[in-house]
């Protein structure tokens, strides 16, 4: 199963790389143009911190992302994006009870928190609108795609995966420190639809805890639409321009 998951991840990454390469390659065929000009391309690997909606029952976790962008106009770019995160579920949202001993003579019940790692992969296409031509370039972005949630196969006894629609809105700031490279600060609302946190329960229904429910933290209400807050920093690379071309244009 792990190799299967790895293959899928590699395939998704390869897809993004190919599309990104096309976008970047298209930019490379253009004559050298300033950053943000039409036909230019870029690749932005990002890393950050995802604070998932509490109703997702997934703890905050770091994530990695990569996206490619092709400049449709000096202000508008379009391209694919891949986001991967591996978080842990909240154990207290999935409590089980395990009883030891002889019930007729007295026994002991342990209430157990069940947590499992989940791999979250989001693939989509995004459109970004930015203010070009300055060293500090704010932007807004939005996109649509699909997210897949991979459960722990060891616990699920199956290579279980759930895929649903995801959308995204966000914004940020591009800090250009050369014609080819820059840093991106990015804030996003990654919106999952069709979510059901009950699917993440790693325990069999027979072991569900039914006692002391009033004294235990209540799991969040199940929601199908989740808003996840993603904060990231990325490194933007524009290979389409030879080094030194237009150097200092933004200084």
């Amino acid at each position: 199963m792990r190799s299967s998951l790895a293959r899928r991840l590699m395939a998704a990454a390869a897809s993004v790389a190919v599309v990104g390469g096309i976008a970047v390659g298209a930019g490379a065929q253009e004559s050298p143009t300033p950053a943000g000009a039409r036909g230019n391309g870029s690749v932005t690997p990002r890393a950050g911190y995802a604070r998932f909606d509490r109703a997702s029952s997934i703890k905050p976790a770091p994530f990695l992302a990569v996206e490619a962008a092709y400049q449709l106009t000096p202000n508008i770019s379009f391209g694919p994006a891949l986001t991967v995160s591996r978080g842990q579920t909240y154990g207290e949202d999935y409590l089980t009870a395990l009883t030891f001993g002889d019930p007729s003579k007295g026994d002991t019940t342990f209430i157990l928190a069940n947590q499992q790692p989940v791999t979250l992969v989001d693939v989509g296409a995004i459109v970004t609108a930015r203010m070009p031509g300055t060293r500090y370039s704010p932007f807004v972005t939005g996109g649509v795609g699909a997210y897949s949630l991979y459960l722990d196969p060891q616990q699920s006894n199956d290579s279980r995966r759930y895929t649903h629609l995801s959308t995204m809105v966000g914004g940020g700031l591009d800090l250009q420190f050369s014609r080819q490279a820059g840093i991106r600060l990015d804030v996003r609302d990654q919106i999952f639809s069709g979510y059901d946190r009950r699917r993440l329960n790693p325990a069999d229904i027979r072991f569900q805890n039914t006692r002391f429910v009033q004294d235990l933290p209540a799991p969040p209400e199940n929601k199908s639409v989740l808003h996840n807050f993603l904060l990231s920093v990325g490194f933007t690379f524009r290979p389409s321009l030879p080094t030194g071309e237009g150097e200092g244009g933004s200084d």
Partner: protein, 355 residues
Amino acid sequence: MTFSRITRRSASRAGAALGLLAAAGAAACDDGRTVVTQPFGPYSFNFRVVPDGRTIPKGTVTIAHTATDSSVTLLVQGIERLAGTAVYQVWLANADGTGLVKAQGTLQEFRVDTVFTSLGDLKPDTVPVGAAATASSFSAGGSSTLVVLRVDRASLGSNPLDKGLVLVTVEESAAAAQPGDSRPLWATYTPTIEPKALTFGRWDSNPANQYIFVPIGRGQISVRGDVLLAYDSSLSRPPVGYYYATYVIRRNKDEAVIDTVRIGELQAPDGTTSLRSADSSSVHPVVQAKSIVAGFNRVDARTATSGLNAGPTPYKDFADYLITLENKHGDEQKASPSVILRGVVPAPIRSPATE
């Protein structure tokens, strides 16, 4: 600004960004696996409560038929002492319930005790309490109380053997002219049959509508930290005028009783609906025609401290867990002698390691 300065600055910024990415990437590569054995809070100790039922209200009717006199003697025990003006009213009637009259007779209360014979052997004995009186009602009761009412021609004003039914009802006062709804004990008799055991439940003139109480049920008690939960099942529906309540007996290390703690009335599983009225009303779906399919009690030492041990071991010295059948006119601060379910509290609760 020179080309070399720009290149150095760009290179350092790029290096910093890449380093940050690498660190975040390393953090994102979580290889943790599922954990299903992580205890969440304290564990709970559980024990069962099982039917006891040895002391539900009971008694006999004995007929004396001699040439000089005829009498009916009622012996009642296992009843709860009634509070206020409430009384157990004894009636005689025809076997079909017609012709009700108060069973005026000679009433004597006894305390059932254990004495030693001259040889030092134990012998159960009955010790009179107070003087005998002429009455047809009484309020005495308790686990060691025996009440005897002898009705003869002289006290009744007629031959008691002309009747065929002894009925004990619970009334607000001794002035009741007719039996109320709570009619817990009865027996029919004929001059040729003796003695006859009393039936406990609810008498009705139509035998098909009579309800005979059976002391059954089961349950499980769980104690986790400050909270005690009791889940009971399959209890008989209480006779009219009765309800279930829960008590705990606290004992010291020498098994001497320290205190009797009232937990409260039996509740429905929702934890908010009292089943006190389950004798006469279907206050909750768990109340069926002749049974209560589920009962519940909860004690939280953080909010209810009466009778509990102070400190981190609130249930220390809890020795016996009782579900009793209480008369609605009884003293709520005293447990009824009618113990329906009983459980022995296990040592980890009664004598916790943490004092």
